[in-house]
Amino acid sequence: MTAKTLLIGCLFLAVLSGSGCRSNDQRNPHLAGGTSTAGGKQVETVEPIDKMGLQKLIKERNGRILFLNIWATWCAPCVEEFPDLVKLSRAYPDQEVEVVGISADYPDEVESKILPFIKKHDVPFRILVAKFEHQEDFINGVNPSWSGALPATLIYDQHGNQRLFLVGQGTFERFKKSIDTIRTRL
C-alpha cells in the first residue's frame, strides 16, 4: 500500500472511532420510540429513525449496552436469525442490555410488512425503520465500512463505543458471548 492509501485508511479508522454529533432536537423522530422499550412484551409500534436519531441512539446509552441489528423482511438470513435475537433479548434485563432492530424496509411498509413480521415472531424488543433520503446515507450512518449486506449487527458498550460489528448471520451463542465479555468489563 502506498502512503496515500495508508493515510486514507487512517482517516477511515478515525471516522470509525470518532464520537458522533449529539442532537438536542427534542422533536427527533427516534425519541418517539425512545420510551417504547418493549420490556418483554410484543411491540406494537414501529417508529422511523433518521441520521440524528441513529447517532443519539448510539451515544445516549445511560449505562446500558446497545445490541443493534439491521435487518429486513425480505432478507432470508435476517429472518433465519430473528429467533436468536428474540431469545437474546429475553436473556438480559432491559436495564442492562437494550436490544433494537432497525428495519431496512421502507417506512411505508410498516403496516404491510414489518408489523405482521413482528406479530409472527412475537418480537419483544424495540423495532425502528430506517428513514434516510438515500440508502447510502443509511449504510454510512451505521458504519462507513459496511457494504450494506444484511443482516448486520453492532454492539456498543454502555459508553457508546462500538465493540462488535458483524456482517452476516450470527447466533444466540455468538452474540451472548460478545455481550457477556462487555458486561464482565463493566
Partner: protein, 190 residues
C-alpha cells in the same frame, strides 16, 4: 463464517482504498463458468468489448428482482454500443433450472453464469445481489457498486451504472468508481 466475513471486508476495504487513492484499478483474473445451458463462457472471450458488466444477481432476492426490468433496459441500451452484460448467480440454493426459468420469465437476453463454488464472488469480493462490476478490455475494474440508488425505480436520483458506462464509452474517466451495493447477501457454500 467469521474468517470469510473478515476476508471479504478486507478485500472490500482494499478495493475501496485503492479506488479512492487513485491507484491502478484492480485487475480481475479471467475465469470460465458455464451458463444455465451448459455453455462455457470465459471473460477473455469479451476482451473486444468496450466494457464488460458483471452483474451478481439472484432469482429469489426481492431487491435483485426489483432491478430485473432495469437490467433488461440497460442491456438493450448499451449492447449495441459495444458493452457486454454477463449475469452471475452465486447463490447456493438457486439451481440451474430455477435460474433458467427466471431468466426466461424476465426476458434476460444476456448469459447467466452459475458460480457454484463462489470462486468468482470470492475473487471479486461480491457480497450482495444486485452488485455490479464494470471491467475494461484489460479486465480492470472501472466501477463497482450499485445499479442506481433506489430499488424503487420511481425514487432513483442517481443512475450510477449508466453514468459510469457513458463515461467509459466517451473515453473519460469514471468519477465515482465505487458505490455501495444494497441488497440480499449472497448465500455462499460453507
Amino acid at each position: 463464517m467469521k474468517n470469510r466475513s473478515l476476508a471479504l471486508l478486507m478485500m472490500g476495504l482494499m478495493l475501496s482504498f485503492a479506488l479512492q487513492a487513485g491507484e491502478a484499478p484492480k485487475k480481475v483474473k479471467s475465469f470460465t463458468l458455464e451458463d444455465y445451458n451448459g455453455v462455457k463462457h470465459s471473460l477473455a472471450d469479451y476482451k473486444s468489448s468496450k466494457a464488460i458488466v458483471l452483474m451478481f444477481i439472484a432469482t429469489q432476492c426481492p431487491v435483485s428482482n426489483a432491478y430485473n426490468g432495469r437490467m433488461v433496459e440497460l442491456q438493450k441500451d448499451y449492447s449495441s454500443k459495444g458493452v457486454t452484460f454477463v449475469g452471475i448467480n452465486a447463490n447456493k440454493q438457486e439451481g440451474i433450472e430455477e435460474t433458467k426459468n427466471h431468466a426466461k420469465e424476465h426476458g434476460f437476453d444476456f448469459p447467466i453464469l452459475k458460480d457454484w463454488n463462489n470462486v468468482i464472488a470470492d475473487q471479486l469480493g461480491a457480497s450482495v445481489t444486485p452488485e455490479i462490476y464494470v471491467l475494461n478490455s484489460n479486465l480492470e475494474v472501472l466501477y463497482h457498486g450499485r445499479i442506481d440508488d433506489s430499488q424503487r425505480e420511481g425514487k432513483v436520483s442517481s443512475k450510477d451504472l449508466r453514468v459510469s458506462l457513458d463515461k467509459i464509452l466517451s473515453g473519460k474517466p469514471v468519477e465515482t468508481q465505487e458505490t455501495k451495493a444494497f441488497g440480499c447477501t449472497i448465500k455462499r457454500i460453507k
